[in-house]
């Protein structure tokens, strides 16, 4: 999880083709993950001592085999399962925890806010991965432990930006009018403020997905992830490292998979921000051109009826 609020991006808006690429890539990997047992040509852990360290292009083993003769393609496909599943689950849970904490902190303010924000400060003083490693070390291994560790280390990344936004929104007159109507604090938070922070949460979530997958790969690489018998991209990267000089595909191919998924989710995050963040300069430009187009159309239709007479 990224530990700063969404950074302001400079330059031009993303071309559509890049967004299409990013979405296609994620959908592609999602399909691989969901249908892994049917798509993968071999079971991920099927070993064959006859077929050790075959390079990509070998018949039946298109992406080659590893030092135990396991099919790299099948292992990448099965690795997508773990990566995306944990990435998405962690994203959803982190977002929920962080948003609730951010809403409470920003809305109630005062000492509640002070206490929560000091905790966030302490949390952020630790590098994200170091914190996750420490938590995994305490909790032990296994997918559920990884999820808990990543959620517990990632929530401030949502809590702080959401809290900042709530600080502004709670002084808005619609919040005041809801309070005057007698809406309860939690009603105001979840019915009035939450819908208005959702664009931010959406953007943060997309970026968070990439970070989670990367973190999971890093943990697996360090041997702290899921047990070694499960195919994970990070784990493949770690064991392939020993053969980098002789069998490049062992480390490179899972690395490319990680790269594609992470960059896709970051690109989608950028695109969502351009679209939904009202402060994004691109959105303003887009709205302006839309308004101009509308005005031109209106002027045209206003003139239209007079034309037959002319």
């Amino acid at each position: 999880m990224m530990h700063v609020s969404v950074p302001k991006r400079r330059g031009r808006p993303l071309p559509n083709i890049i967004v299409v690429f990013a979405v296609t890539t994620l959908v592609f990997f999602a399909i691989l993950a969901i249908f892994a047992p049917w798509i993968a040509p071999h079971p991920p852990n099927a070993q064959s001592l006859m077929m050790r360290l075959r390079p990509p292009g070998t018949e039946g083993y298109w992406l080659g085999t590893d030092q135990l003769g396991r099919d790299v393609l099948s292992r990448i496909i099965h690795g997508a399962r773990i990566s995306l599943a944990i990435g998405v689950v962690v994203m959803v849970l982190t977002a929920m925890l962080g948003v609730v904490i951010g809403l409470i902190s920003g809305y109630f303010g005062g000492w509640v806010d002070t206490v929560i924000m000091r905790i966030v400060d302490i949390w952020l003083a630790f590098p994200f991965l170091v914190l996750a490693i420490a938590l995994v070390a305490v909790l032990g291994q296994g997918p559920d432990k990884i999820v808990i560790a990543l959620v517990l280390s990632g929530w401030p990344g949502f809590a702080r930006p959401v809290r900042g936004e709530v600080l502004q929104l709670r002084e808005r007159e619609y919040t005041l009018s809801a309070r005057a109507l007698g809406v309860s604090p939690f009603g105001v938070m979840f019915k009035h403020l939450l819908p208005n922070v959702m664009p931010t949460v959406l953007v943060l979530s997309a970026v968070d997905l990439g970070y989670n997958i990367l973190a999971l790969a890093s943990l697996s690489f360090l041997g702290l992830g899921i047990g070694a018998e499960t195919a994970t991209w990070g784990g493949m990267l770690a064991s392939g490292r020993n053969y980098v000089a002789t069998a490049w595909w062992l480390a490179a191919l899972p690395g490319i998979a990680i790269f594609l998924v992470v960059i896709s989710s970051n690109l989608i995050g950028d695109w969502l921000r351009d679209r939904y963040d009202p402060r994004s300069p691109f959105r303003q430009a887009r709205n302006q051109s839309l308004a101009e187009a509308r005005a031109a159309k209106a002027a045209q239709s206003a003139q239209a009826p007079t034309q037959p007479n002319a």
Partner: protein
């Protein structure tokens, strides 16, 4: 609905008397950590009374504390000291009374663009108060909302749309309908027309007048424009630096201001009649 002290009310839609005594509120301004903060008196010993079903105007420049008064009466902020009496009951001291009066004071803000949640449909915005206070069975909420919207000059089909699809005047009608949905006795109008076009201002003021006549509402009208207040209020108070410097009949204050500040306020307002303008400068 039965009010506190066994007072009976047939429908809650009856103006209530509002009285404010020695209201004070200070804000701490400046940094918190490094003690250089200072107290600014936003509202300093303000007292006034509004009879049930009448309108009082509160005039002053921005920063004079009039909006702080509005927010204290609406209980959005708590006064440092003083009393707020509704029908003679102090709602700051008496918690039970405070609860039963919770929805009797409502507020309409200056800018309907920001006082309506942009992500809510108009129908839900108006219905919110009814739902929160369970003022009627769930299946009757819709009918009530439609009736209220009509009363405020909105079409029934506008309820399915979002606030940004409406003009400023229409949005203010939505905000008024939203406030009236909980059957208040007192409505604080915090510069309800100053964000609107002059032609629309007249329509909204006419609507407010009509609603007051129909429901006997008590209004506290906050404005920086003496002309609006003069036309609309039976009584006016002028605020400056958190204090009321002059109070009385609006026509009298307009033609013969006593306090130098009121005089400058009156003179600041352009007179549309050249002959009167000459008289004013003479």
């Amino acid at each position: 609905m039965s009010g506190p002290d066994g007072m009976m009310q047939e429908d809650g839609r009856q103006g209530r008397a509002l009285e404010v005594r020695n209201l004070c509120k200070s804000f701490r301004v400046g940094s918190e950590t490094f003690a250089r903060s200072e107290l600014v008196k936003a509202v300093d010993d303000v007292s006034f009374a509004i009879a049930a079903g009448t309108t009082m105007g509160l005039v002053g420049e921005s920063g004079s504390g009039k909006s702080t008064v509005a927010r204290m009466i609406t209980r959005l902020i708590t006064p440092d000291s003083g009393e707020i009496l509704i029908d003679g009951v102090d709602v700051l001291q008496n918690r039970q009374a405070a609860r039963s009066f919770a929805r009797t004071v409502q507020i309409v803000f200056q800018d309907p663009t920001s006082s309506l949640n942009p992500r809510w449909k108009v129908g839900n915005l108006i219905a919110e108060g009814i739902r929160v206070h369970r003022l009627c069975p769930g299946n009757e909420v819709n009918g009530r909302v439609i009736a209220l919207a009509r009363r405020c000059g909105l079409d029934a089909d506008s309820l399915d749309r979002y606030p940004h699809e409406f003009s400023g005047g229409q949005r203010q009608r939505i905000a008024i309908a939203r406030a009236l949905a909980v059957e208040p006795g007192i409505v604080v109008l915090d510069e309800p027309v100053s964000a609107l076009d002059v032609s629309v201002q007249a329509q909204i003021l006419a609507l407010l007048q009509e609603l007051q006549d129909a429901f006997g509402l008590t209004y506290l009208l906050i404005a920086h424009d003496l002309a609006v207040v003069e036309r609309f209020c039976a009584h006016v108070a002028v605020m400056r630096h958190g204090q009321i410097v002059e109070a009385g009949d609006p026509h009298q204050i307009h033609s013969d201001p006593q306090h130098p500040y009121t005089r400058s306020l009156v003179e600041a307002h352009p007179v549309p009649d050249p002959r009167r303008r000459q008289r004013q400068t003479a």
